[in-house]
Structure formats: structure tokens, C-alpha cells
């Protein structure tokens, strides 16, 4: 439980006889973790940790695994769905900010749907913190950091506006901008307009009379912190070309940014490192082509029958290229890491239930070990969100965010049993955690 404002001290809590995994891959068997007021007070081998007299203690029976709470750097959990097609504006070329998908002033904290199943599911999968964004078009809103606690999540806001979400999504239906090049122009124009409005407001404030009052434009005002590099864009882009387009905009408009999703970010790894742009990478991996599947992949004979009897020379060439393309995509995160790019994790709409399966694929096929994967899901994402000292690991002084699993988290059968977020314990319903 977080620190009480009423002035009395909350009792401590502890898990003992648990296997503790830290973000750097260290494993402590027979460990103990103690927290009070939402802060980890002590963690380590049982002989080094003193459990306070008032602590409520749970026994892990030497078989439960405690991991730092996973952090999703940009998730859409709890976001209301976007409105329908939006109808036809009077003038498709002047649809107004909202209709165009320009709503950077919206805060998830004001729109979150508490009953979204994804918030429950996320806790079961080990997530205790997430930066949440809203579904929408080019500028759907701010990104707010929450402790993830199922239905209570909306009441557990940690920080509003850790970034402003941006993406190459055209306005729906007949409205400007309807193309990628239109989006590029619109991003620029918004910055030009925001700059002019900001200046007019400053001039207005600097005199007592004889100056026209500036219009109130909350959409533009919401971009000021990005313009002044006080708040980063969380820019979603996947293809090599779209990442290049974002970099063109960055050169011109001079914003700080975090790249979100970045399926082909590996193609720009050196450039991202040079610009010190961190990547909150997705793990929405490509399906393996049938011909690459081995017997172990559980493909049944029926699938195999669809394979051509003869592999022609040209087909073989195609397969070689395809295998290379598949490997490049699977190795995305690893390539970025090895190039010196800071990499965290973002689901950005990816189905929470499929996370473990894809983490397993990464472990088996991309040459990343369990502790490297864990680091991306925890400390590295915390660093990118500016919470590297408070979240992302199990050590004294950090916020008490962790999950207790019955097996190592990368095992398919692993189930979350307890989720601790900001010190609050939620006993997870093991029935639904499959």
C-alpha cells in the first residue's frame, strides 16, 4: 500500500522463500522481499533480509518466482474505441481538429475504461505499470503512466503526459489528411500554428492594452511542451520508410521522440543510436512461413500437403530471401540492442494473451536469453520512461512493483499468482490466467 496521507504507518508485507529474479538476470533462491508504504524496504537472500515484526508474510514455498513488474511503454489498454467513420464534414479539406484526428489535449486518465478486460489480463501476464495511450488517428492524445491494477487502474495514475502519442494514421473517411504526405504536411502546419499562437499569447501577456486577444486553441497548446522539447513524441512507426519520414520531421521540427513499435527499426539502428532515440519495440512478430516450419512446430500433416511437390529454382531463391527477411524481423530488438539503441517494450494494441508465445519465439530464435528479455520488459522500459530509479527492478528503495509467478515467466505454463503494484497486492485468478 502506498504511503498514507493520514500520517500513520502501514504494516509491512513480505514474501519469503521465493526465487527472486532481478532485472540484470541475477537469481536469488530462497529469497525474501519486504515492502512498506509502496516501497521495497529490503530484498535478497533470507539471511540478509530482516522481516519486520509487523509484516504480513506470505510463504513462497521455495518454488514461486518473483519478477520485477513488467512495464508496457505504450499500451492501449482501457482506451475507448475510436468513433465510427465520422461522417462527411461540410468541407472534407477543413474537417476541424477532432475530425482530422488531432486531439493531443486528451488525457487517458480522463477517458480510461476501467472494465477493459485487457487491464486484468495485463496484470496476469506480469505487468504492474504501463504508459497508456488512446486509440485514434494522427495525434490521439497524451500518454499517461499508470500502475496497472485491473479495474482500479484509473485510480492509480502515476504521471500524466509522459509523452504525446503521434502516428501516421489518416483521418477516417472523407477528411484531410487522407494520405501519408497529407499527414506530413499536417504535422508541420500544426507546429507552425502552435508557434504563432504561442508567440501571440506571449505578446498579449506582455502588454496591458492595445493588443488583440489570442484565440484559445487547446489542441495547439497541448503541443507547446513537445515544441519546446519538454515532452517527447511517442511516435508509432513500423516500416523503414515511415521511420525515415519521422526522422525528416524531427530534423525539421526539432522534437524529442521515442519510437514506438518499430518493426523495421533494425534498418535504421545506427541512425537511431546517433540521434539517441530510444525504441519501445513491439513483439508482434511475423508468422513463420509454412515451408520454414519444422515438425516440432506442431503443424499437422494437412498443412504439409499444401507444400508444393517440387521446389523450383526460383522458389528456392524466394525462400532464401524470405528466410532472411523473417530472421531480420525476429532479430529486430537484438539488432537494436547490439547497435547501442536503448530498447524497451510497447504492446501498442498487440493482444496481451499472445505476449508469452512471442517472448518464447524471441528467446528461441533471436539469440536473446531470458535475462535480456526481462531487462527489456523492466529496467530498460523504466529508463526510457524516466523512471529508471523507481521502477524496473527489485531493490531497496524502488516502488514495490512485482509479480509472483509459479514458474519462470518465459515458460508457457507460467501463471501469475500475485501482482503487486505500488505496494498493493492483487491475488490473481489463476483460472483465467491461461
Amino acid at each position: 500500500m502506498a504511503a498514507s496521507l493520514q500520517g500513520w504507518s502501514q504494516p509491512a508485507e513480505a514474501f519469503e522463500n521465493v526465487i527472486i529474479h532481478t532485472a540484470d538476470g541475477e537469481v536469488v533462491d530462497g529469497g525474501t522481499i519486504v515492502w512498506r508504504d509502496g516501497i521495497i524496504r529490503s530484498v535478497g537472500p533470507e539471511e540478509e533480509v530482516t522481516i519486520p515484526f509487523d509484516a504480513y508474510v506470505r510463504d513462497g514455498g521455495d518454488s514461486l518466482h518473483v519478477y520485477p513488474g513488467f512495464i508496457d511503454g505504450m499500451a492501449l489498454w482501457g482506451s475507448p474505441d475510436t468513433d465510427g467513420p465520422g461522417g462527411t464534414p461540410d468541407e472534407p479539406g477543413n474537417p476541424g481538429y477532432k475530425r482530422a484526428g488531432i486531439q493531443p489535449q486528451r488525457y487517458p486518465s480522463e477517458h480510461l475504461k476501467a472494465n477493459d478486460q485487457a487491464l486484468e489480463k495485463a496484470a496476469e501476464m506480469g505487468f504492474t505499470t504501463a504508459a497508456l495511450g488512446l486509440k485514434g488517428q494522427m495525434l490521439p492524445g497524451q500518454v499517461d503512466l499508470f500502475f496497472i491494477r485491473g479495474k482500479q487502474t484509473p485510480d492509480n495514475l502515476l504521471e500524466e503526459g509522459v509523452g504525446v502519442l503521434a502516428q501516421f494514421k489518416e483521418a477516417k473517411g472523407p477528411a484531410y489528411p487522407s494520405t501519408t504526405m497529407g499527414l506530413m504536411a499536417q504535422f508541420r502546419q500544426l507546429f507552425y500554428d502552435a508557434e504563432a499562437l504561442h508567440r501571440q499569447q506571449e505578446y498579449f501577456a506582455s502588454v496591458s492594452s492595445s493588443y488583440p486577444a489570442p484565440q484559445k486553441e487547446k489542441e495547439l497548446e497541448a503541443l507547446y511542451p513537445v515544441m519546446k522539447q519538454k515532452q517527447p513524441f511517442f511516435f508509432v512507426a513500423d516500416s523503414k520508410e515511415n521511420i525515415e519520414r519521422v526522422l525528416w520531421l524531427q530534423d525539421e521540427l526539432g522534437f524529442d521522440m521515442v519510437l514506438v513499435s518499430g518493426k523495421e527499426a533494425y534498418t535504421k539502428a545506427q541512425e537511431l543510436r546517433r540521434r539517441e532515440i530510444p525504441v519501445l519495440a513491439g513483439i508482434d512478430l511475423p508468422e513463420k512461413p509454412d515451408w520454414m516450419s519444422t515438425d516440432d512446430d506442431g503443424k499437422d500433416e494437412k498443412d504439409r500437403d499444401t507444400q508444393p511437390a517440387e521446389v523450383t529454382e526460383e522458389m528456392q531463391h524466394f525462400r532464401e530471401r524470405q528466410q532472411q527477411a523473417y530472421k531480420e524481423r525476429i532479430n529486430n530488438i537484438n539488432t537494436l540492442r547490439e547497435s547501442g539503441v536503448r530498447v524497451g517494450y510497447s504492446s501498442n494494441g498487440f493482444n496481451t494473451s499472445a505476449i508469452r508465445k512471442n517472448l518464447l519465439i524471441l528467446k528461441e530464435e533471436s539469440g536473446m536469453n531470458e535475462s535480456q528479455l526481462l531487462n527489456i520488459l523492466t529496467q530498460s522500459t523504466a529508463d526510457i520512461l524516466g523512471y529508471g530509479q523507481r521502477l524496473g527492478d527489485l531493490e531497496e528503495g524502488r516502488l514495490a512493483n512485482f509479480t509472483v509467478f509459479d514458474n519462470p515467466f518465459t515458460e508457457e505454463k507460467a501463471k501469475g499468482l500475485f501482482s503487486v503494484s505500488n505496494g498493493e497486492v492483487t491475488e490473481l485468478d489463476s483460472e483465467s490466467s491461461n
Binding site: K172, P174, Y176, G182, Q189, Y192, E195, Y203, E314, F318
Partner: protein, 468 residues
Amino acid sequence: MKKIVLLFFALLLSPAGYAQEKGSVLISGGTLITITDGNKENTDLLIEDGVITEIGRDLSAPDGVETIDASGKYVMPGIVDAHSHIAAVDVNEWTHPVTAEVTMEESIDPNDINMYWALAGGVTSIHLMHGSANVIGGQNETLKLRYGGDMDELRFEGAPRTIKFALGENPTRVHGQRFNVQPRTRMGVEQIVRDHFDAAFDYQRNRREYLEAREAYEEGARGEAPVPVAKNARMEVLVDILEGDIRVHCHSYRADEIMMLMRVFDDYGIENYTFQHANEAFKVAPELRKNGAYTSVFSDWWAYKFEVYYSTAFNASILNANGVINSINSDSGELIRHLNHEAAKTVHYGGTSKQDALRMITINPAMQLGIDDKVGSIEEGKHGDIAIWSGHPLSIYSMAEATFVDGKKYFDRDKDADDMRLEVNPEEDFEHAGRRWYEEHGRRGGTCLRGAEVRFNEQGMHFRHQTR
């Protein structure tokens, strides 16, 4: 079919090797169609580091430079297509009658296999155009077909800026008839152009005055704070047109609207412009000549909408005979593969000379794009953008055998089966990869109204827009 299938898939070289590299090659013993200096039989052509350095006989290749024997073959400048929509992500930001702020520079699809097919037709440069759904559409981008390179590597460095205008049925139907937004008529089209040019003048003055006042205020030379005039991306481009920094390429068909736009441009002092399509341009050829206007037409493509019924296969020849600098373009992912045939039609129908016919797909489009100092003819000092043809390029039996950009080979018919620059999707099966382009684009792929299609049905024409 086997050949086509090979062409689609069997492409095996790392894309990394293609970038904006320049190559050196000696092409010996061919018949050089220089375009600007007649044909030269049994002549060698040396390209070094991407530039034509020597034309003559018995040239020897410098150390390490490959020699290609072209004896019995024709060597001509790479074809320049002044109107193309291949290698585009989107073509039409159709939503407003004026979208000068958008640019095809930011809408390049470097993975489009159409570039490879165009190279196989001897094409080395294209004018990637915005669509024709709005009166003043987006800016265009001139590309070199360095297929396998990324967006930046495809750009034609030093090519002047150009922009798309469109008259007639497309903008009136999309805006006036579908959304009740001006223009609904051809008169409205003219007024949109005039109103926006006038607005651009106002903007230019207001913005300049504001910037001057701001500077004075911040330096203490002025007491009163100015009211900001925001930079306007659309108006900035319109101002650049008025200043003569951007060439206009205008989609047009009817003679009356061609005359209209020339009058408007005369009023506003705009001088460098090309009428695209211009099916009725032959009716006003002397007027076009007098105004120094260029035309870029189809050889014989018409009747796909009402305003395109009054057309003739003599259009290009009449324009040419009247001294109008005319080019033959494709506006199509299919026609671009045989622009040599399209040019040959002017010889067949209108009796145009073979040399002039070839000019219409080389130096003339290069002039219209402002790149004629770099490409469009075989001259020392120009870029090594050339194609080797099995026979005379105007013959129906001839094929481009190899195509070079900056002296580097980007198409080789002999090595077609080993070429593998085609983007491969990890999730796509072999069969589908071959059908992909046609399934995504159908026969209409790469045309002017892509993304804002006007379709015929029993009730007449209907506008239909696509969003992704």
C-alpha cells in the same frame, strides 16, 4: 508465362549493393542514338563514375572498367517519363481543392516492382506526379530508377521542383459534384486558381511584414508587438510558384481550358509550364508555341471520360510540327514498359521523323522537367543513363537488353532470373507474392485518380475515395 514468373520473383542480390552508387562502363561498337547529335554507327561510349566522358571509336576501357560489346545493337539515352504514378505510396490528397503543401517526395514507395518493369522498357527517370483530383494538387518528385535503393537514393538530385494542377472533370466531380465544394464547373476551376494566387500574394506580404515587425520589436526598434502571421505550408508553395521557383504540370484535356490557364498564367507572370494529357492541344498548337508552353501527351489513349472524346492520334505530331516541345508519357504502370512503342506511333500516324519521335521520350520530357542539362541525350558530361536495345528502339521487335543509371546497371535481361531486389514479406507465400501487385492495384494501378477514383455505372459517373 515462365519468363514473367521469373521476372516477378527470381531476384537475388542484396539491396544494399544498389544505393546511389555510380558506375563505370565502356559500351563498344553500338549504334549510338545521341538524340542531339544524330546517330553514330559503330561508336564506343565510355561512362566513368556515372558520367559520360567519351564518345568515339576504338576507345579503350580504363583499368577495372567492364566493356560491353554492343555491336549490332542500339544505344540510346534512358527514357524519361514525364507523367508517372509508379513507386508511389499515395497519389491523391484529394480532400481539398488546393493541397500544394503535400509532396510526392514524401510518398515514395521504394519497393514498387513497377520500377523494375519500367527499367526493362529502357526507362531511367520518371516524374512521380501527384494525382488530378484537385485543382492545385501536390508537388511532384523526379526520380531516377535506382531500383533497390531507399527513398533518398531514388531522388533525381538537382531536378527542379514541380507541382500538379488539374482542370476539368476530375476536380469538378470530386469537389463540386460530390461534396458541394467549389469548383463545380470549369469556371470555378479558374476561380480557384486565381483566388489562391491572390491569397498567396496577400500571405506573402502579410508574412513578410510580420517578420519584419517582429524583428524590429525584438530589437527594440518598434514599440508595438505585432500580431503573428503563422507560416503556412500551402501558401509558401503557392508563393514559390508565383516566384517562378516551381514548374507547373497541369492535367488538362480541352482546348478552351488550356487557353484559360495560359491566360491566367499570363496574368500572374508564370512562365514555365507543361500541359499534361492535353488531348485537344492540337487545336491550339500555335498558341501553345507562342506562350512557350510544353505538352506531354498520350500517343493514342482517349474516350475514358466525356472530355476525352475529341481526340486524335495525330495530336503529338501536330504539336511537334508547330514547334511545341512535346513528350509522350505513360501515366500508367503498363504503358511505361513500352514508351518506345508509344513514341513510334507518332511516326506511324503523323509521319513524325524517327528522331523527333525519340526526342519525345528523351530530351523533350527532360526539358519539361528541367533535367535536360543532365539526361535525355548522349553527350559528354551528361549522366550515364542509357539503355542498350537489341534493335532500333522504334521497332516493335526490339527489346531493352540492359539499362544503366549513372553508369550502373539496374536491369540486365540475361541476368533477370538472378535478380532478387523484390521486397519479400516473411509472411507471404510464393504464389501470392507474384500476384500481390495486381491484387493490390488491379489494372488501374498507377493512374491519376488513384485513391480518388471516378467510376462509371448505370447511374453515371461516381466518385469513390479510398482510405486505408
